[in-house]
Amino acid sequence: MDLEQLQRIVLDVIQQPLTPAERMRKRTLDGRPVKKIVDEVIKPNDRLTSFERLEIYNRVYWFRLLSSLMEDFPGLRAIIGDRKFEKLSVAYLSDRPSESFTLRNLGSRLEPWLRKHPEFTPKLPKLALDMVRLEWADIDVFDQAELPKLTANDLSNLGEDPVFHFQPYLRLLDLAYPVDELLLSIRQKEDPESDIASNVVLERATSHSEKSFVLPKPKKIYLAVHRQEEDSTYFKRLEPEAFALLRALQQGKTLSQAIEESVNWTHGKVEDITEQLHDWFANWSSLGWFRKPAAE
């Protein structure tokens, strides 16, 4: 058995989901006997069998990854409850094992996965999906680059029908539920500070009681998830026209095309939008959302 074969066997066992009692399962999900597999690879000692020795790593794997998802998605957890959250997390991680060297990206594929698996959020699929989109956007903008901002002088010299470039830390979300309020209320109750380091066996995140938050009723909102002063992420609600305009601009459309798209999308009037353009751009510019083009 060469190094690669051995490592593939060991990781396969470590990634097998735990039993309900949080122990290593006796058979793999596809029915192979774990003891036989492990006995061939791992030495026993005077206190632990081969199975028990590898079980330590199996449990640590799941506790570490589940704790990480619990920290990253407290909003989803509050919506569906701890037990369903764990079930969802195990299914997600089994389908989509981490392909990144950093745990930061563990939830990066949760939204598309959840769209294919609404069975894990049967009662409130849209609310759960909205929360996942918001929580991932929040994680993603937190450590994006801040590029040189467009100055007032740059703005005045853009020409008649300019294209705008945005900071990497701006995300636009159209949401069916006001999940921003829910997430902020959850955060106020939880300690957001944690750290990840070296060879530490992480404790599982403590569970908060289910249904301790009032879940919101449907209400369409348009949100910019962004960052200010390189510190915290912020949620800024936008008017539908402003959202549509920004989204089109972010997609690389010219200003006139973006105005047209906003009008079409909101069934509004061009005059209503152009009337507000100055204020919107002044605000977005003061928030530092526009950056200089890469070529400059």
Partner: protein, 307 residues
Amino acid sequence: MPANRFNGYTDYGVGIGLRIPHYNHIFEKKPVVDWFEIISENFMIDGGRPLKVLDQILDQYRVVQHGVSMYFGSAEPLNREHLRRLKTLVKRTKTPWLTDHLCWGSVDGQYSHDLLPMPYTFEAARKTAEKIRQVRDFVEVPIAVENVSSYAEYHVSEMTEWEFLNEVVEQADCGILLDVNNIYVSSQNHNFNPFDYLNSIAPERVAQIHIAGHSKFEKYILDTHDHPVLDPVWDLYARAIELAGPTATLLEWDDRIPSFEEVHQEALKARKFHKGQQQPMQKNGLAAMNPLSNANANLYASEKARV
């Protein structure tokens, strides 16, 4: 000996890990600290608050990077994105040396996010050494590999852990981040004498030393980094300093983190071993320190609900 080519010919003293709960204390009180160790992966990002904090720290303190996911021992090729981001961070921190673990943790692009023990084979040593060389050539700073704590051993192993460590660092011509707590933990889990391990390593390759606390369970010991350093580990540290000289030392405290002062004071206990380094160690004392001489060493309290 403490300043050598594996730690960039520096003499850094006693440091602690840079941890979020201590940020306010550090920025408000500006405590005197020899150096901080950062977890590289926490700062291998494009922007935002973590890098702003790091830049503030770099203005006032010396920083050494410690990685947790390079996985020198994984059979698969190095992750280019990881390397690129690591090099960018190295340029930012100007770390005199770089450390990561002698372990594996990924297969076919899938990551365990754990420090999995190596099979101690000649094939593994050769492949691991080759990857260490590749990383060093790319990031252009000296590299020291850390011995990990482990809970399992493989049938295919052809040598002891310390023989494997020596084989790898010789072939890679790299340094050692000697974690004496990990040696102790593994010695208890695998029934070997930790002093045999210590006495076998090449002291001239020791770039840095880690000390930490661990947790005892009924049938094994876990490397939890959530306690003060325990006496058997201090005993090993004393021997390590005797062998390698007063080497750059770092206390790891990563869970249930107490106040900055408590962590720093615990770390600074290491200095007394540096001062006493000139005094010859008594052999009887060493024997008495051997944890295996304690018949109850492996009979610990019932398992916590942590693992």
